[in-house]
Symmetry: C2
Subunit: 131 residues, 2 copies
Amino acid sequence: MAGMSESEPHCEALVADCRLRAATDLFAHTWDPVVLAALRPGPRRRRELRAAIGGLSDKVLTETLRRLCARGLVDRRAFAQAPPRVEYALTPLGRSLVEGPMQALGAWILEHGDALLMAEENGMEPGSTGS
Amino acid sequence: MAGMSESEPHCEALVADCRLRAATDLFAHTWDPVVLAALRPGPRRRRELRAAIGGLSDKVLTETLRRLCARGLVDRRAFAQAPPRVEYALTPLGRSLVEGPMQALGAWILEHGDALLMAEENGMEPGSTGS
DNA sequence: ACCGTTACGCACCAGTCGGTGCGTGCGAGG
DNA sequence: CCTCGCACGCACCGACTGGTGCGTAACGGT
């Protein structure tokens, strides 16, 4: 997932699924989907997110949030309060992503996750591929 | 997306969506979903894939195919023919991925793609975030 | 006045991904 | 006999990502 921000030069050449690329790019960054998911229950602040997620650095959280905001998936609301209070929440668009495709994905691994792990760990013995 | 192949140390800390990570990792590599999509119509050979997709190097195709095979999403079938003939096809597992979550994703961008582009290009003027 | 909290910013670094170019083994065809 | 097509393999390279550590601005509490 490098500089894939090209407009759409050879897009139609992409199996007619250039759109697919645009979509999968939403998951390109490791923590984007996780943060999105973490936001599903409701608005949260940075601290809360970091605590809830655990494992991502402050810097990356910022970048992730920025990206998500820029893409209109997340809404940033700053309150002019004493200790700076900033809340991040899913926009309707973001929510539709999370509750639509993302949940579909979730459901999929819940069902086929074991098959996936099995295949990955066994390597694939010839013939065991099912087919 | 760096070395995210850790087993599952702090997995449960991930908003209870560690599974989600496993799933999004399937899309981590730029061309994986594209190749998967390209395979949907039916078995194909390397050449055909490269031609159909356009834009990916030979090396990356190989890697992608390898990964997909290792994950049990794609089946590699080599024929002992004159010019080496190798066909790649979706396994049932792979097919379920493509026709399930992937299609959901596709449907999503088809519907919200414009909203996404709008948000991305406008940058977000304060207040225009909707909310 | 000093410290703590919150929300960032920036520099540095290692690991990884994708692209390019070139070489391999195999058999068919001229 | 030489060349071509196919399916790879490998080395090199630039670019990007994520992690770590440290510094900042604003404000409240003690």
